[in-house]
């Protein structure tokens, strides 16, 4: 974090009008965003400058922090600011049982914490005793222990973890590992959005295409080479 450049906080205007708790929560959200993006933005390229992020919350149906982080990532990309990686955020909850009709969740990872085995009577296989839900809505967030994670998908490193409800260590690890896996899906969606947006920017007018044959988008073969990163 260079001395010459700083990441301006996103102090929402709502902070002035809310109750004390709302103000504290807003400051917490702003500080989390700032601390999440400072290591990811290439700030040394912008000395003596301030990058300000303004967040306007339109509607909340749970997972506010997740939405804020994902929106900020896309906004920074759209502004043309270089990032070392996408910051993909996901909210997860732990539901303490396996649905009797569904097959037990088989995660693509192994846990380091020994979890309490719980047998699914239907199929007879041993599961971990809980199901992880991804991307929560308001009701799920309020009734289940939940965590929000932000992951850098290229390295699989976790940049933000926010847990506010009591949960056992084994179930927490499950949520964390699922968060890292699930962030790949978020990254896929982000990449698609960025590609579509970038293509719309680069779509040349017909006249330009005639003047400069071979420019991006004018020839189908050339398009593939140009658009891949």
């Amino acid at each position: 974090m260079g001395r010459g450049s700083q990441l301006g906080g996103a102090k929402a205007v709502a902070a002035r009008y809310g109750s004390l708790l709302v103000v504290k929560r807003t400051i917490e959200l702003a500080a989390s965003l700032k601390a999440t993006f400072e290591p990811v933005l290439l700030l040394h390229l912008y000395p003596r400058s301030s990058i300000d992020i303004y967040l306007q919350i339109l509607e909340v149906d749970g997972s506010l922090l997740q939405a804020a982080i994902n929106a900020t990532t896309l906004a920074l990309i759209s502004a043309g600011l270089p990032l070392t990686d996408y910051v993909c955020s996901l909210s997860l909850a732990s539901y303490p049982s396996i649905s009797p009709s569904a097959a037990p969740q088989i995660p693509p990872f192994t846990l380091s914490t020994p979890s309490v085995p719980h047998s699914n009577k239907e199929s007879g296989t041993i599961g971990s005793g809980s199901t992880t839900l991804l991307d929560l809505c308001q009701q799920e967030e309020q009734s289940l222990p939940n965590v929000t994670v932000a992951v850098l998908p290229r390295s699989g490193k976790v940049t933000l973890v926010n847990l506010e409800t009591r949960v056992g260590v084994g179930r927490f690890e499950e949520m964390l590992r699922w968060g890292v896996e699930g962030s790949k899906v978020v990254q896929g969606a982000m990449e698609e959005a960025v590609h579509t947006w970038a293509q719309s920017l680069a779509a040349p007018s017909k006249g330009l295409a005639n003047l400069f044959p071979g420019i991006a988008g004018s020839k189908p073969e050339g398009e593939d080479e140009e658009m891949d990163d």
Binding site: G9, K24, R25, I27, E28, A31, S32, L33, K34, A35, T36, F37, E38, P39, V40, S112, T113, V147, L152, S155, G156, K157, V158, T159, L160, V161, N162, L163, E164, T165, R166, V167, G168, V169, F172, E173, L176, R177, V180
Partner: protein, 282 residues
């Protein structure tokens, strides 16, 4: 009020090089906490906690108030944390910096959201009278990691505190003084304790209970609130250097061990104190 002076390059390099060899500038090993010393005051609910040179005093008090209309059976737990310049000249009286707000939020989450104190047990007459327990946290000395120190002091103070006994006959409420009836302890479900880890550089070098210098030079912190039943009450890694999930789990395992030790210390301190002061005679 002057802003805190950034550490010199000498100090920063020395710290980093020492950490790479697993040494800390105050002689501890990387996952060692400083010594916790608990002192109890004359009043029930006054506790001072020393974590090395960091000092925090917590005072718990109770008063009877009217409950909220939509929650007539619940009492209140109010946590007040205002950092005065007594802790360090870097803090301004009155204005809460972002750091202070974050610390206050974490303390609130650790004590209130984790439901350590049973608020329904604070009800006297539903809809009319409930206890409002106030936890005042005073930061006396900031030598790094005031949050952990405050959390230990606060939960010990809550366990030390006793409220006056109350008799309810119909609508009549009689509050007995400490001399008449033995005061009643609060109903505490579990003992949440905060542990803060600081990370340095990109190689995930982690230390537990950062000193003042270490917290200034850290590239990221992780605060873990655990109880002795291996439950995580709060985990806050708000940005900072990205870490692999394995490192986070490793840190949690270390936290689980340390919390057991701190919990045992709190228990033994409370027991020793109970022997010294006579609260009830049977």
């Amino acid at each position: 009020m002057p802003r805190e002076v950034d550490p010199s390059i000498n100090e920063s390099e020395f710290l980093h090089k020492a950490l790479q060899q697993g040494l800390r500038t105050d002689g501890r090993s990387v996952y060692d906490m400083r010594d916790v010393k608990l002192t109890f005051g004359d009043e029930l609910g006054w506790v001072e906690c020393r974590l090395g040179e960091t000092r925090v005093v917590v005072q718990v008090s109770g008063e009877i108030v009217k409950p909220l209309a939509d929650r007539p059976y619940e009492g209140f737990l109010v946590i007040s944390t205002e950092i005065s310049p007594m802790a360090s000249s870097a803090y301004e009286a009155g204005r809460a910096s972002d750091e202070e707000v974050l610390m206050a939020r974490l303390l609130e989450k650790a004590l209130r959201r984790s439901e350590a104190v049973d608020r329904e047990a604070l009800c006297i007459v539903a809809g009319q009278k409930v206890w409002s327990i106030r936890v005042d946290v005073h930061f006396l000395d900031d030598e790094g990691n005031m949050l952990d120190c405050a959390s230990i002091a606060a939960i010990t103070a809550l366990r030390h505190f006793r409220r006056p006994d109350v008799t309810v006959i119909g609508e009549d409420v009689t509050i007995h003084s400490m001399a008449e009836h033995v005061p009643v302890p609060l109903a505490i479900h579990h003992t949440p304790i905060c542990l803060t880890f600081a990370f340095f550089g990109d190689d995930s070098l982690a230390v537990l209970d950062p000193s003042h210098l270490e917290s200034l030079l850290a590239s990221g912190t992780l605060t873990l609130t655990l109880n002795s039943q291996q439950e995580i009450c709060v985990l806050s890694k708000a940005g900072g250097v990205p870490l692999p999930a394995d490192d986070i789990m490793k840190v949690i395992q270390i936290g689980v061990q340390r919390v057991k030790e701190v919990d045992a210390l709190i228990k033994s301190s409370l027991e020793m104190e109970a022997k010294k002061t006579v609260v009830e005679v049977r």
